[in-house]
Amino acid sequence: MTRNKKLVLWLVFPIGFIAFWELIVIVADLPPFILPSPSLVFDRFLISVKDGTLLTHSLTTLSEMLTGLFVGTSAAIFFGYIIAKSRVFEALISPILVSSQAIPIVAAAPLLVIWFGNGFFTKALICSLVVFFPVFVNTVIGIKSVPRQLSELAKSLNASKWQILIMLEIPSALALFLSGLKIGATLSVIGAVVGEFIGADEGLGFLINLGRGLFDTALVFVAVLTLMFIALVLYGLLSWVEKSVLYWNDHQKASVLK
């Protein structure tokens, strides 16, 4: 597909969607509390941009997300590496980590608020818990995916553990790790919002709650669309990082295809 065709598709689909949305509201004569029109949502967006509320709340949520993403990813790399390298740890920790994923974060979040208060720390912690698992699983698979022949070759060449990690394991695991990180980054949005739903006076989750409490559905849409935008930007950034770091992967694929 040519660049121009891509651009046209990128423009046509959102414009068509917004036009369809506006049309539904007009034809069905829907009141704003059921479905606000795109123009009403845009008006509400402008108001919240002008009075600074959207920026303040977005920055709060973003800082919770990024902190959670950093902490969750760091923990996932640490535990992922240990479990990938040690069968004993795998047998001990894996069942706990896997079964912990069955705990709905909305059930755990109120407990975390009671234990740690309702400040920034708890929200970042909830985010990190949500981020942890996809990054962890991909890290373990990535580290384990090092071809045995290469591993044995490195050992036969007397490569140190550090050399094996830097020159073999990290490059092998990087593609899967970054895929997990992309999933984790988008999930961190959910983590931040869940934390803010439980108790907050700032953040986009709080703004959604406020909009619901005031029956201001347009405000709910503004907050939700902003969250989607943040998730999209984070995903795009990580995709760019992935493409830049794994440029050799594309070359490899291309050479295989040739």
Binding site: P32, F33, I34, D201, L214
Partner: protein, 324 residues
């Protein structure tokens, strides 16, 4: 001749009963009403459980289904005419109407606004002394927030005079952990639970300072216009449930056990105390009647908070045609 007469008689009987009339003579199908409760199953809903168990809703041609969801979601459903009724506190009606939701309050259930400020700081003797203090509350919306604002308003304080800390519904735990000293709670629930834990506190009830329109039944304008007798039937059944609960709380408690999963395992003394505290707030004379002053007070607070800007009057929020 005899046969002819018999045939004529059967023919007359058959033609006199048209299919329409036959169907009308059947027992009419009950109207299914899904009721958003605004909270989890709780002893405070005993009148509904009693009315359902004793068949008052069935006698009024209603099949009642409980829907334990958020208060605002229930009101939105009523506004969208997806359900005919919901439980709601007074301020929600103004807030909803401000956003053009065509809902109206039709029946007062709680006489008093059921929100209180509890303080474990026993030196705090008046609301004015709250200045500069931290107050924890579930969130910056809903009845708790409006109740707090009314308390501050009556003490001549504003929101900026205090430090608000939204903590979700963790007031009891926060007090017990010593994390908070001043919390906003429901008057008929948390004070009893804290008392049972041996915690000493001072209570400042909103109703004592600035009473406002409290919890009751809301419907939408479509139902009022097209099906007013459904409203009457629903409120009749509910009123009978309230009357029976007030006259026989022990029986109401036993009935409620069937509807509240863990009530049989809960501390009966505490739960009965919560029921009695709730009953004391249901003493509306006559049942369901609208207190115009409370509605005017409520609107005054909401206008002051700039949550209502459209210039609506208190009368737009309610109708007393079903509670006279």
């Amino acid at each position: 001749m005899k046969h002819v007469f018999t045939i004529l008689l059967v023919f007359t009987l058959l033609t006199s009963c048209s299919p329409l009339e036959i169907s009308l003579k059947k027992t009419p199908e009950p109207t299914i009403v899904r009721l958003p409760m605004g909270y989890i199953p709780n002893i405070q809903f005993a009148p509904f459980y009693v009315a359902l168990e004793k068949g008052y809703f069935a006698q009024n041609g209603i099949e009642l289904i409980f829907d334990y969801s958020f208060e605002t979601d229930g009101i939105a459903l009523v506004g969208a005419n997806q359900v005919p009724f919901s439980l709601a506190s007074g301020e929600q009606v103004f807030l909803a109407r401000e956003q053009k939701l065509p809902i109206r309050y039709v029946y007062t259930w709680y006489r008093d606004y059921p929100v209180s400020l509890l303080s474990t700081d026993l030196s705090l003797m008046s609301l004015e002394e709250l200045k500069g203090k931290q107050i924890a509350l579930p969130g910056l919306y809903g009845a708790s927030y409006i109740g707090l604002r009314a308390l501050l308003y009556s003490a001549g304080l504003s929101e900026s005079d205090v430090n608000l800390n939204p903590i979700g519904y963790t007031q009891i735990e926060s007090i017990l952990a010593g994390a908070e000293q001043n919390v906003i709670v429901y008057s008929n629930n948390e004070p009893i639970l804290l008392d049972a834990q041996g915690v000493e506190f001072n209570q400042f009830s909103v109703a004592e300072y600035f009473n406002m329109a409290s919890n009751g039944i809301v419907t939408n304008e479509h139902t009022i216009e097209t099906n007013p007798e459904l409203v009457t039937r629903f409120l009749n059944a509910f009123r009978q449930g309230i009357e029976d609960t007030i006259s026989n709380p022990d029986e109401a408690y036993e009935i409620s056990k069937q509807y509240i999963e863990n009530l049989a395992l809960a501390d009966e003394a505490i739960q009965k105390e919560i029921l009695m505290a709730s009953i004391s707030m249901w003493q509306v004379e006559p049942y369901g009647s609208i207190d115009r002053e409370n509605w005017a007070n409520m609107l005054e607070v909401l206008v002051k908070m700039e949550l209502v800007k459209s210039g609506m009057t208190p009368e737009e929020a309610y109708t007393d045609q079903f509670s006279k």
